[in-house]
């Protein structure tokens, strides 16, 4: 959770994934301006102070020597998968990882040279066709799932939730284990505000901040919300 010295407005810290962790307690994040909080972060000058609470939550399963990981990133959802690939590269297992990375246009795809330098196989897609294959990441994922059919593979995704559900359904239909890093409105990041609830099979709700953000897709995909007892609508707090 990151917040600058913004006074009273915007009030809440913003959740970010770590892109990379450097020596001496430094860390990189990838930010895209989508609202006032991210706009203020983007405008922050070098040396500006920010409050950081973290790292929080869960991570993707570690790379395994005998398994191919299909990393599916949508736009600014790249960071945790970039870090996953970096971990694999450090362990000289990067040949077992593939990055399927999509955006609306070419400007949405960043850090390509860095990922190439890791030796990572990149499969790029853009909705306007400016870079890579024209279309959505799910199309590219389908082709890679087909390519690896019959070998041990896992899918790991991060991006807009709609993309993640599509990725998770595709993996489920192919019988492939899938882990997704979800996004939800949250205030605290530590399991207190209970704002970031996600309907789950293992419990009526799980929390993106403290149980996630990375979930086994089988636990959270297509869960019937009606199964959870719902409070009277007029009861706030």
């Amino acid at each position: 959770m990151i917040r600058g010295a913004w006074g009273r407005d915007p009030l809440l810290p913003r959740a970010f994934s770590l892109l990379a962790v450097g020596p001496g307690g430094t860390a990189d994040i990838l930010a895209k301006t989508v609202g006032r909080g991210t706009a203020l972060l983007e405008r922050a000058l070098p040396g500006a102070e920010v409050d950081v609470l973290g790292p929080l939550g869960s991570n993707f399963p570690e790379p395994q020597a005998d398994t191919t990981d299909l990393l599916v990133a949508g736009g600014v959802g790249l960071p945790p998968l970039y870090m996953q690939a970096a971990v694999a590269a450090d362990r000289r297992q990067v040949a077992r990882s593939e990055m399927i990375y999509g955006g609306r246009g070419g400007d949405d795809l960043v850090l390509l040279r860095e990922m190439e330098a890791m030796g990572l196989n990149l499969f790029l897609t853009t909705e306007n066709g400016a870079v890579g294959t024209k279309g959505l990441v799910t199309k590219a994922l389908e082709a890679r799932l087909e390519h690896h059919r019959g070998t041990p593979i896992r899918v790991m995704g991060c991006g807009p939730n709609a993309m993640l559900w599509a990725v998770a359904r595709l993996a489920r239909d192919k019988g492939v284990p899938c882990f997704i890093s979800l996004e939800e409105q949250m205030a605290c990041g530590i399991g207190v505000c209970l704002g970031c609830a996600i309907p789950a099979r293992s419990r009526p709700y799980r929390y993106v901040c403290s149980n996630g953000p990375v979930f086994d897709a089988a636990d959270v995909l297509d869960v019937e919300v009606t199964a959870a007892p719902v409070a009277p609508a007029a009861c706030p707090a």
Partner: protein
Amino acid sequence: MSAVNLAIETGGIAFRNPILTASGTFGYGREFEGLTDLRALGGLVTKGISPKPRFGNATPRICETASGMLNSIGLENVGVEGFERDKLPYLRECGTRVLVNFFGATFDEYVDCGARLDALDGVDGLEMNVSCPNIKAGGIEFGTDPRVLRDLVRACRAAIRKPLWIKLTPNTSDIVALAVACAEGGADGLSIINTITGMAIDARTRRPKIATIFGGLSGPAIKPIALRMVYQVRRAGVSLPISGIGGIQDATDAIEFFLAGASTVQVGTQSFVDPDASGRIVRDLEARLAADGIHDVRELVGALVVK
């Protein structure tokens, strides 16, 4: 020994200082382990407990608003049994006063829940949330009708021996009448205020920003309303001590509530912004009083100057 006295006995409980944490913003205490020193706080108020566990509302449940946030969590909680089994052992050892917030869907549920919590060792006091819809009365909040509120407080009072505070809803045209009703029902203290019902709309999607359409507004945006209500109750001469709640971010905010008439304050939404907010307010309050030559925080309570 500190040169400044922050200790205060109020609402039937002796606190080491007047900074508490508000229900629903501090979990069951343990979530803040390592993030703030619970032993430095005056006390904490737990998430609201109901007789049975509740799983809460559909999502989205929260959204940020100007200098505040809306929430409609749906009073999700572990229930009395889960609280006793899983949460209370930690709270017994946590080194600060523990008030347990509670509620029910009916009179009987309120009384049952309050009585069961009252019997638990490690609970220093109870805070009753009366902002729940009374199903039998067509969904009107228990806490908005002074007669219903008085009867509810009286019924709970008869079943509860520990200090009983009532957390008033601000969704009323007459906060004083509600405070008087609580005094008549035999309460030991008032917590003023709960969240204010509000709404947020996404102009692009044309949808409400939270699933239940309406939610409770909290944060610095509501501080002027909370101060006004604390002061109104104080000025009306209601005999009960007040715990002030609403947008408290720093020691100055806390002092403003003391001046308006609160003898303790509860830090709410700010704990989301900074998990150590309440601890920092305790430290800053002590330093501020020392710098101002005020030897006892109790000097500030109700010391508003009105000409």
